[in-house]
């Protein structure tokens, strides 16, 4: 079984893809059949992925020598594109995580989407989404990855805009697609550079060639440019500043979709891509600093926005942006282990929280404002307590999963700083402050939603078992999932690392700091949003620092800035081009058409329609030719074909 799975790893993405085809063409009229097909496919993928994981993680040989096999896809002289599978601990971990979270989310969706007229379609999209992400994970070359990357983008577009009757959903889908497209464009340019310079997009080959970039006749500056171009893709996909704007709007989709996008599929694709191409970034310290700084900045930036948001899913969305920033930061300081570790733990607790939020919305009939909730834990104990576990995990309270991964990131950032990168201290400060903010805003949400006074107008009820079951499983992983990477027994970095295996030294001081920040954040939230029943203090604070509050609540006006930019600069440019199009381009075309028309109008009188006229012309022409042939000079006769 294990050997079969290792050799047929391509089945993992193929099964959900098949499910997509089956649902679209066969089982669409029967919702229950569709969801069964979909879940059966993703579950089989999960079983396969587990076997692969077993096979890989029992054989340390995979660390140095990944399993790779590929087929020729297409190509031409001196340029071959292969499609293949690359199984190393990183991709195996992703396969396992993605297939599992996707399977749980699909199970959850059977409850959440119950009775939706588009139920079958929804499951077909979910299948395709999972298939593209799994395909991206196992890709052995960057072009294949890019294709899957675009498919992921397409699926997110379809799913965010799933409620097509809602204008906001349609707009959000467009926004997500277009924003990520900006990033994809940069990435494609980067890939083209790589192909042209190194002659391959194969990951293993590139990993060997890029370190010797000087032999390929390029300077460090150009390589930095390439790395940054490639990084623009992940900026778009993983919602990093300044292309983060689509992620919070993506909440317009059904909640399972949000969970899937935020935890397992879409956004982690960017982090994964940077992890995969870390050999490129590692060559250019400049690009690494950009990655690290953008990561840290995004983490802090999104956390400050999340402080004041009111919609439950929006808060979670900004927390995702913030956590993705953490992952980028870890990769930027050169630690694949820490970045991937956080990706792993984050997938569980974030999927858990999103599904929990979905459960809440389900119970409250889509009332989304946390200020309208309260005391829900009494009526919805499973949702509530699993959500609390998610909250503890993200706030970094030991022994929950988030603590270990966040601690690892802080540790490697500190190491980076102490190893002569003065920027590292700034990054470390930003990361620690973000940790505090994260605990605070998460627990603000939890206290407002699940604790405090119940609102009489709400009639919540616990969700069906299909929805609570995934919550419980995810809560289990959110609790225990981090224990494989504790500083004392770090199995994680033994398997998943870039360069030498490394991890932060077990530093009690750092851990205490981290715990202190988490507890302080929760404590502050407790004082403001639980003890203070009327929430007077926070209201006073918001009054006093009105400007700050407004800036945060309006997300630093980034959307407005983009809108302003579009309205003034882009529209003005468009107007100029429009004028050019109408008067110059169209002028030339119209002129040519007009000339043809006028000459045609004149010439058509030659066509009298009278055969006798034609016959006369014909006769005269023959006469002229005959005369020329008979009496003309030899040259003209030659031209006319006679003269021999």
């Amino acid at each position: 079984m294990v050997q079969f799975a290792l050799n047929h790893a391509w089945l993992v993405p193929l099964l959900p893809a098949l499910a997509f085809v089956i649902i679209v063409f066969l089982t669409r009229p029967w919702p229950r059949v569709s969801s069964t097909v979909s879940i059966a496919a993703i579950f089989s993928s999960f079983v396969l992925a587990s076997s692969i994981a077993y096979g890989v993680f029992t054989n340390p040989g995979f660390i140095e020598k990944p399993l790779e096999y590929s087929l020729r896809w297409f190509g031409m002289e001196g340029f071959t594109v292969k499609v293949g599978v690359l199984l190393d601990p990183t991709s195996t971990m992703m396969l396992f995580m993605v297939s599992m979270v996707a399977a749980l989310i699909q199970i959850y969706s059977t409850g959440y989407m119950e009775g939706d007229p588009q139920y079958s379609v929804f499951f077909s999209y979910l299948s395709l989404f999972a298939a593209s992400m799994l395909g991206l994970v196992i890709s052995s070359n960057l072009l294949q990855m890019f294709v899957m990357w675009e498919l992921v983008g397409l699926c997110s577009f379809l799913l965010i805009g799933f409620y097509t009757f809602k204008i906001s959903a349609r707009e959000a889908a467009k926004k997500a697609f277009m924003t990520t497209r900006i990033g994809d464009f940069g990435m494609l340019l980067g890939l083209l550079f790589l192909q042209i310079i190194f002659g391959t997009l194969d990951l293993t080959e590139l990993a060997q060639r890029v370190p010797a970039f000087e032999q390929f006749g390029i300077s460090l500056g150009l390589l930095t440019l390439i790395a940054i171009l490639v990084f623009i893709g992940p900026i778009g996909k993983s919602g990093q500043f300044p292309l983060h704007v689509w992620l919070p709007d993506a909440m317009e989709g059904p909640t399972p979709v949000s969970a899937l996008i935020h935890a397992a599929t879409m956004v982690v694709a960017g982090v994964y891509l940077v992890g995969r191409t870390l050999f490129l970034f590692a060559e250019v310290p400049g690009a690494m600093e950009v990655v690290a700084f953008i990561g840290a900045f995004t983490a802090l930036f999104a956390a400050t926005i999340a402080l004041t948001q009111r919609e439950i899913k929006r808060i979670l969305a900004y927390s995702t942006v913030s956590q993705l920033g953490y992952m980028m930061l870890a990769l930027g300081v050169g630690s694949l282990s820490a970045g991937m570790f956080h990706l792993w733990t984050h997938a569980f607790f974030k999927a858990l929280m999103f599904l929990g939020a979905g459960s809440v919305l389900h119970a409250l009939h889509n009332k989304a404002d946390v200020w309208d909730m309260g005391g829900l834990i009494k009526k919805m104990p499973i949702t509530g307590w699993t959500f609390v576990i998610g909250g503890l995990a993200i706030a970094g309270i030991p022994p929950f999963a988030g603590f270990w991964s966040k601690d690892e990131i802080l540790a490697v950032t500190l190491q980076y700083a102490t190893h002569g990168h003065s920027l590292g201290y700034v990054l470390f400060f930003m990361a620690t402050f973000t940790a505090f903010l994260t605990a605070f805003y998460m627990w603000r949400m939890i206290f407002l939603t699940f604790f405090g006074k119940e609102k009489p107008e709400n009639h919540p009820h616990e969700s069906p078992r299909s929805m609570t079951f995934p919550l419980i499983v995810l809560a289990g992983f959110a609790t225990l999932g981090g224990l494989i990477g504790t500083p004392w027994a770090n199995y994680w970095s033994k398997w998943i690392h870039f360069g030498q295996p490394h991890h932060g030294e077990p530093s009690i001081g750092l851990m205490l700091l981290s715990v202190f920040l988490g507890v302080a954040g929760i404590g502050l939230a407790y004082i403001f949003y639980y003890k203070d029943e009327e929430k007077l203090r926070v209201k006073q604070l918001a009054e006093r620092y009105q400007t700050l509050y407004k800036i945060s609540f309006n997300k630093y006006y980034v959307d407005e800035l983009y809108l302003w930019f579009t309205r003034t600069v882009v529209d003005a440019g468009a107007k100029v081009l429009y004028w050019f199009d109408i008067h110059v381009v169209d002028g030339i075309i119209d002129g040519m058409a007009g000339f043809t028309k006028v000459s045609g109008r004149g010439l058509r009188y030659l066509q009298t329609g009278k055969l006798q006229t034609y016959a006369l012309v014909f006769f005269l022409a023959v006469l002229v030719i005959t005369v020329v042939l008979a009496f003309g000079n030899p040259t003209s006769a030659g031209i006319l074909g006679g003269g021999k």
Partner: protein, 105 residues
Amino acid sequence: MATGLNPSYFIALSAALFAIGLYGAISRKNAIAVLIAIELMLTAVNINLVAFNKFLTPEAFIGQIFAIFVITVAAAEVGLGLAIVIAIYRNRKSVNLDDFDWMKW
């Protein structure tokens, strides 16, 4: 073959017939007359073919055979032509070529 007949007599006859036929084909307004004129032109060609056959290669029959082909094709052509004229006449109640002007702008 009677001596004293010069090929130029035949050529002159043929040229005259052809010219008359061409004039008729171009100037007559009656479609039937035009068909007749075309027949005249074909006859002119036939005279040429037979005459040259006789004077240039008396031992072979190429020109005569060719003339028979022309007569055959001409018969078919006239049959077709008359059928078209009748069909048009049924539509337009006219055999005047000036009325057959659907092919113009």
